[in-house]
Amino acid sequence: MTEVSETAILLRGLNRNYGDRPALTGIDLELVVGQSLAVLGPNGSGKSTLLRILATLLRPTNGEVRVLGIELPKDGWKLRGMIGYLGHEPLLYQDLTGRENLELQAKLHGLKPDEARARIDHDLDLMEMGRRASGRVNEYSAGMRQRIAICRAVLHRPKLLLLDEPDSNLDPEGRDLARELIGPAEGRTRVLVSHEPERAIAEADAVLRLAHGGVMAATP
């Protein structure tokens, strides 16, 4: 068993460059388990890069990064399965149905068939996609894809949610439905990138404002 520390995310002097261009410079942050962090900033300020580093999908150039007590990138493999990541891309195979995508995800995360079926049914019903889940993803609207992508991100019940504009393409009803799975909740640790500052700040315990690579303000 991996020991989970009280600190969910610890960043000290995090830098990430793309070639010569710095994407993140000197990011310091500490987030406690169960808290929500809102990451705000204009386009190109490094929000998505930060999320991908926390998800172990991108290596930091330098600096200390600890997620759920695990040092990245050295021990990143220990984090696999503990993170729910919802990025700009839905990470869904277009020629599979929504349900098949979730079944594949369940198998990759080692869920037992009965447990997987129950969770898939539950999450699809919650997102009101139960009857549409037998259609292929390439036949879905962007909003329907996002609903399935949300189900995918939380299917394995991750300890940490990394959400990059999760409301994009969702209608108001979809946004409300999604709150149950990815919204703020007791004990749920979230990092939320958003272009809607008011709503993100209202739901957050801490706010990180990025401005073209650097930290503009970190509010505990």
């Binding site: 999908l57 696999r80 990025g87 020629d95 098949e100 995800q105 198998k107 995360h109 080692g110 995918r152």
Partner: protein, 226 residues
């Protein structure tokens, strides 16, 4: 960690299901091979081939048809986020290499199931060599699948993917093709199949397959890094 067998079957099942649904790779590979046989038939102006010429025509055609499938083996992972999805799961990364190589092996086997009898109809006077040829096909498929999966995973992130795959793959499969044609040629002899050096060529293929399976298994983890 998820058991590797579960993950392997899940990825392989996904790939085969997708191919059955979309038919993006196999029909193109088959059509290419049959068209090439027609070109050879008229280009060489021969109604029957034997020995090393028959082996050369068969393996040249199969190899270039295989490249069409190799080019596409990681496309859905690249374009639909499969790499990210896989890297987030608690799965040994080499499972992806093994599942993709297995999918490619199956594509090549299905291709040959249709194309080799077509080759026999077009060019062979006697078909007795086709049974032992299956061993050669299996050995070559294993090598092409291992090398092809490795090369495809390296090239898939490049915009010049279609160019890179043949450029990197062809030099690496030369020894395999020499062994495959060397083993096949006596099977297509005019008087019926002979087995001169057949075992030795199979052994060469087996060694080459083993080396590239091990290389792929060892380095694939690093190829998935950002």
């Amino acid at each position: 960690m998820t058991p590797s067998r579960t993950a392997f079957m899940a990825i392989l099942g996904k790939d085969l299901r997708t191919e059955l649904r979309t038919m993006r790779s196999l029909p193109a590979m088959i059509l290419f091979a049959i068209t090439t046989f027609i070109i050879f038939r008229f280009g060489l102006d021969r109604i029957s081939l034997s020995g090393s010429l028959a082996g050369g025509v068969l393996w040249t055609t199969l190899l270039f048809a295989a490249i069409l499938g190799i080019n596409r083996i990681f496309v859905s992972e690249r374009e639909e986020g499969g790499f990210d999805s896989f890297r987030l799961a608690p799965v040994d990364r080499t499972v992806l290499f093994l599942a993709k190589a297995a999918a490619l092996f199956i594509y090549l086997s299905v291709l040959q199931l249709i194309v080799v009898p077509t080759f026999a109809v077009f060019f062979l006077d006697q078909w007795a060599g086709l049974v032992p040829l299956m061993l050669v096909l299996a050995g070559a498929n294993l090598g092409i699948a291992a090398i092809g999966t490795l090369i495809s995973s390296m090239a898939v992130n490049s915009r010049a993917r279609d160019l890179l795959v043949p450029l990197l793959l062809l030099p690496l499969v030369i020894p395999l093709m020499i062994a495959a044609t060397g083993a096949s040629a006596p099977l297509f002899d005019v008087g019926g199949p002979s087995y001169d050096d057949f075992g030795q060529w199979l052994l060469v293929m087996g060694l080459y397959d083993g080396v590239f399976c091990l290389v792929g298994y060892a380095v694939f983890d690093f190829l998935l890094e950002d």
